[in-house]
Every structure is written in structure tokens, then in C-alpha cells.
């Protein structure tokens, strides 16, 4: 579609610093500035649009009551259609997919070089992902990617948990408060086990960095992030868990002093309170389709009826500017009341 763009065309625009159109041959074109992504859609009008460079309007003409003036103005061109920009959420699912082609699971052992595999620099990513630079950078942070030797790498999850385990065990043995984890000691004590850059990366992903009165770099570990990651580690090993058993194991697995709570698992796990016993299973939003219709179809084939509270974390990211999840549900689902609770199901028949 990008190759079909007209010789010269018009877009509705906002003021910009730099604009880039991005898209593969089979993708719809998007327009990006530094931090936003817009869909490009062609719009038709039955009216004729004429473009007249330099043509003045009454407010721009001097007030002459004397002889009338004749000014020649040339019509530069005309059109019946133009391109419209509509702000949209960037297509970032491809980013994780590319990075997962070759996850990083630690430095090469001994004299061996790291096994070959595709690696991407930021410029490579800008070439392939339909999003603005800032949106890409934000998503890299979300997926805990880090730059190693100029390439952006996502960590193999088990390796990431290994790093986190080192940190939490050190916090425990040093009896530090979770909100006062000193960077320098971590690097000193753990530097022999893993590269210092990886230790620091782990702290950046699971903690908030700040400086204390002495100017030392300290981290405050994020309880929710640590517990959530621990839950994922447990849940990915089985299809379904008995909920109460899971909660027990989970609480025992998180660092002592941290509280594991079910609300930490929104967008990561799905509870089934209708089954006996109640169960929990892994359902990550990033594993679901990116397209709105496909996302709803996928959710409704997993479960026929959803409460708003259960489905909300899995559709939150689909909301357009100023759109609520309620509006999305009204558009894509049908509601009914079951046992006094409002539930949503698909508008069309879904094969379960």
C-alpha cells in the first residue's frame, strides 16, 4: 500500500518536526513523528478541491477604493481525494517477536562466542516496526530489553529470573530493606556470578533508582513487579493450577516480607471462579492478537462469557484516544445478566 501513494498528495496534518511513513509491502502505511503514530486513510469527496498558491483572501488585500486591480493567480492543481491522519496505537507486537528470535541468556561460557542469531540495532528496529522512536523505546523498557554491544536484546525469562534471584537472595542475606538496595554492594557481591551490566539491568527493571543523602545509588524494589514475575515463573510450568494451592506456593516463593496478591496478576493470569475447585492459569496479554477484532475473538473462544472486571486488563490497550473499555465492550460484545452479574459474550458465533 505504501507503493500506491499518489504522485503528490495532501494529508491533514498537525505541526511536526520530522515525519516518517513506515510500512512493509503488505502493511497499511502509518505516519510517525517523534513520539506518535497515525494511520493513513484515503478520504474521498464529491467536491472538487482546487489549490491556488498565493491567492489572497479579502483580509489580506489592501483596502483600495480607487481603481480595481487584476491579479493573475494560477491554479496549481486539483483533487477529489486526500489522506487523513488518525492517531492510533503503534503496532509493537512485532518488536517482541523480533527480539524473541534470539533471546539473551547470559554471556558465552569460556572461550566460546555467543551462538549466532538475528540481532537488531535501534536503526534496524526503526526500519521494521510501525511506530515512532519514542514509542519503540518505551516498549523496549516494558519488555525489559537491554542494549548489549549495540544490539537490543530481550532476556530469556529463566535468565531474567536467575538474575532477580541473585538480587533478592543478597537482599535477604544482608537484611536490607527492600527500598534500600545499594547498587555498589550488589555489583561487588554479584559481579563474580553475572556481568555487572546485567545485575544493574535487573535492578532497573524491578526497582526504582534514586540517590541517597550521601550520593550513593540506591534501588527500591517494586513488590508488585517481583511478585508478578514470580507468579509467571510458576504458572508457565502448567496449564492450570488449583487456585488456593497456587496462592500458597506463590507466597512462599516470593522474597520474605513481600505480599503476593491476586490483583498483581491482572493481564498475566486468569482466574476461574466458576470451577470447583477454583483454578488459575497463565494468560498474558502479549500472547493475544494485536488487532481489536481478533483480540475479542480470541478472548471469547477462551471463555464464552466475561465479566467486565475479568476482561478489562485484556482490552485496555485497545482503547483509542478518549475511548473507554465500556465503549469497546458496547461495540464488540453483547451483554447479558447471569446470576445477577453483568457478563459479556461475543456478537458472533465463536468456535470454542
Amino acid at each position: 500500500m505504501v507503493h500506491d501513494l499518489l504522485e503528490s498528495f495532501i494529508v491533514m496534518s498537525v505541526f511536526f518536526i520530522s515525519l516518517i511513513i513506515r510500512g512493509d509491502k503488505d502493511e497499511h502505511a502509518v505516519l510517525c513523528n517523534e513520539d506518535e503514530t497515525y494511520d493513513l486513510k484515503i478520504a474521498d469527496t464529491s467536491n472538487l478541491l482546487l489549490f491556488v498558491p498565493g491567492c489572497k483572501t479579502p483580509d489580506q488585500l489592501p483596502d483600495i477604493s480607487a481603481s480595481p486591480q487584476l491579479v493573475h493567480a494560477q491554479i496549481w492543481g486539483f483533487s477529489n481525494c486526500y489522506w487523513e491522519l488518525r492517531r492510533q496505537r503503534p503496532r509493537l507486537k512485532k518488536l517482541k517477536k523480533l527480539l524473541m528470535e534470539n533471546p539473551y541468556d547470559g554471556p558465552a561460557v569460556g572461550m566460546q562466542e555467543e551462538a549466532p542469531g538475528p540481532k537488531y540495532t535501534m536503526d534496524d528496529l526503526l526500519e521494521r516496526i510501525q511506530a515512532s522512536r519514542e514509542e519503540i523505546e518505551a516498549h523496549l523498557q516494558n519488555v525489559h530489553a537491554c542494549e548489549i554491544d549495540g544490539f537490543w536484546r530481550i532476556l530469556d525469562f529463566d535468565y531474567e529470573m536467575k538474575l532477580l534471584g541473585h538480587v533478592t537472595q543478597l537482599v535477604d542475606s544482608e537484611s536490607w530493606s527492600f527500598s534500600k538496595v545499594p547498587l555498589s554492594v550488589c555489583l561487588e557481591e554479584l559481579g563474580s556470578l553475572e556481568p555487572k551490566s546485567m545485575i544493574e539491568h535487573c535492578l532497573n527493571c524491578y526497582g526504582r533508582r534514586y540517590s541517597n543523602e550521601d550520593g550513593q545509588v540506591i534501588y527500591a524494589l517494586d513488590e508488585d513487579k517481583v511478585c508478578r514475575a514470580t507468579a509467571q515463573l510458576l504458572l508457565q510450568n502448567a496449564v492450570k493450577f488449583n487456585l488456593s494451592e497456587f496462592q500458597e506456593v506463590w507466597q512462599q516463593s516470593v522474597p520474605e516480607g513481600m505480599s503476593a496478591r491476586l490483583d498483581q496478576l491482572r493481564g498475566l493470569a486468569l482466574l476461574d471462579r466458576s470451577s470447583k475447585p477454583e483454578t488459575i492459569s497463565l494468560l498474558r496479554i502479549e500472547d493475544l492478537p494485536e488487532d481489536t477484532l481478533e483480540r475479542f475473538n480470541s478472548l471469547f473462544s477462551l471463555r464464552e462469557k466475561w465479566t467486565q472486571d475479568d476482561i478489562e486488563p485484556y482490552i485496555q490497550d485497545l482503547c483509542g484516544e478518549k475511548q473507554t473499555t465500556g465503549a469497546l465492550l458496547t461495540k464488540h460484545a453483547r451483554s447479558s445478566v447471569q446470576n445477577g452479574v453483568k457478563v459479556y459474550n461475543s456478537r458472533r458465533p465463536i468456535a470454542t
Binding site: V2, H3, L5, L6, E7, S8, F9, I10, V11, M12, S13, F16, S18, L19, I20, I21, R22, G23, D24, K25, E27, L31, S46, N47, L48, L49, L50, F51, V52, P53, G54, C55, K56, T57, P58, D59, L61, A73, I75, W76, F78, Y82, L126, E127, R128
Partner: protein, 124 residues
């Protein structure tokens, strides 16, 4: 994937053009095409109302500020004319667009054109 850069010409900002919007079509009298021909005369009344005379029709319009401005982009292909069909991602000659102009207001003519009938002298 293709990345096409849209940029503004260095220096001062892009020029401002005017959009004239008409309902229907404009055709040339002898079907010779529109290029190079005189389309008509644009006048403004003392009150600033735009008046367009095309052929023997007169149209009254109004000036409107565009809610969303337009930008007119010119394509620069970087490839010689005959090679434009096989455009692949070619880093030495990437396609780019520059902003030629911005359009912030338009003259829209929505009223039905009225024919101008010249004075026919009475037969003596």
C-alpha cells in the same frame, strides 16, 4: 519495509496556499482539458464575500478556516522516471516527500451556479 521521510524545506516555513472548493465538476468548453486554460474570475465584494465567475455562471461562496489544516506534499522519487515501477527499498535513492505548502483556509462555493444572461436588445 519502507521508510519514507517527509520534511519541510530548510529555512522559512512552507508557503501558504488557498483551497477553493467547488461542488461538481469543472470541464473545459471544447473538451481540450483544463491545463493552461483560464478558469474564471474571482472577486470579493466590499463585505469580503468571494464571488466566482466561471464561463457564464456566477457562484457565491464563503471563506472558512479549516479545522484541520492540509499539507501539500511533493514526492521525490530519487529514481529516474522509467524505473519508478520497480521501486524497492533502495537506500541510495530513497523516496521522500517535502512539504510544498500548508493550507489553513478555503473558499467554498456551495450555492447553485446562476447563469449570467446578457442584456438582449429588443427588436426594433
Amino acid at each position: 519495509m519502507v521508510q519514507i521521510v517527509i520534511s519541510s524545506k530548510a529555512g522559512e516555513g512552507p508557503a501558504e496556499w488557498l483551497l477553493v472548493e467547488l461542488q461538481g465538476e469543472v470541464v473545459s468548453r471544447q473538451n481540450t482539458g483544463l491545463a493552461g486554460n483560464l478558469m474564471g474570475d474571482l472577486h470579493y465584494t466590499k463585505e469580503g464575500v468571494p464571488v466566482l465567475i466561471v464561463g457564464h455562471h456566477i457562484l457565491y461562496g464563503k471563506q472558512v478556516k479549516l479545522e484541520k489544516p492540509f499539507a501539500v506534499l511533493m514526492k521525490h522519487s530519487g529514481l529516474p522516471r522509467d524505473e519508478e515501477e520497480t521501486m524497492e527499498t533502495n537506500q541510495e535513492n530513497p523516496t521522500s516527500y517535502t512539504v510544498s505548502a500548508l493550507i489553513k483556509k478555503k473558499l467554498i462555493f456551495k450555492t447553485r451556479p446562476k447563469p449570467i444572461i446578457t442584456n438582449v436588445p429588443k427588436k426594433v
